[in-house]
């Protein structure tokens, strides 16, 4: 977890390598077996040209970064807004970066306003978004 919650502070990045095996595991866990995720021959014939990872799998990596930075404050007081810009594919390495843009205080509660993005190894943006974490001022 972050030892100090400060404006401008970068969150520890999360780096994940996407494989078809991970996508298949996610399909099993989530019950989402849409062939665009798991059927390589079907996906090859679509405009996407191949299988893609579930958007919620990529978003899980964002949540992992937030959990690692803010711990239980994220799990019980987090809020996010994400846009899925591009698809992640098997063979991609995703890097999730985030930072604390500003801290707001209301009564005894502080809010860390963060921005995040997930990019692949080519620098293409897969997800962008904002997150807010509520924490007690004593945690600062």
């Amino acid at each position: 977890m972050l030892t100090e919650i400060q404006e401008g502070k970068a969150l520890n990045p999360v780096v994940k390598y996407i494989t078809q095996e991970k996508i298949n595991l996610y399909a099993e866990a989530s019950g989402d077996f849409n062939p665009i995720h798991v059927d390589e021959s079907f996906a090859a014939k679509t405009p996407l040209g191949g299988t893609i990872a579930h958007g919620m799998l990529n978003l899980a990596y964002v949540s992992e970064m937030m959990t690692s930075a803010f711990g239980r404050s994220w799990l019980s007081g987090g809020k996010l807004r994400a846009k899925f810009k591009e698809s992640a594919r098997p063979g991609d390495t995703l890097t999730i970066n985030g930072k604390i843009d500003c801290i707001e205080q209301k009564d005894d509660v502080s809010y860390a306003n963060c921005s995040f993005e997930c990019r692949n190894q080519k620098g293409e943006t897969i997800i962008t978004g904002e997150a807010i974490v509520k924490f007690s001022s004593g945690r600062k």
Binding site: N34, M56, T67, L75, K79, L80
Partner: protein, 131 residues
Amino acid sequence: MPDKAISYEELTPGYKFPPATYELSDSFVSRYLKAVDSAGDGFVPPLAITVCAIAAMTKSIPLPPGTIAIHASQELEFFKLVPIGATIECHIGVAQKIARGKMSMLILELEVFDKGNEKVQSGRATIALPT
């Protein structure tokens, strides 16, 4: 689980999917953590809960085979820690349906409650579908 599928045309603003109940068992959470390549911290990851809510919805919509649904955006808010083994109830409704050329944007609102009827999570998903 919802036991009745409805047609895509019936999904109009205000439509509520039948609530779905899930037990967030140790085996489910373990499978989820393995899939997202994460160690976990003794609680149910909030996005594992979202996955249950989305599964409840997708199982209710009989999309033609091979339909590519694009998850365009997601908003989520987490209200409380959920222990492994907890039971949750997922409520999903259609907030908006917007036709855009050959695509339709379906905006869904979700709310998840625990056994004590306390809100655990809420959110909004935008799904793009070919019409």
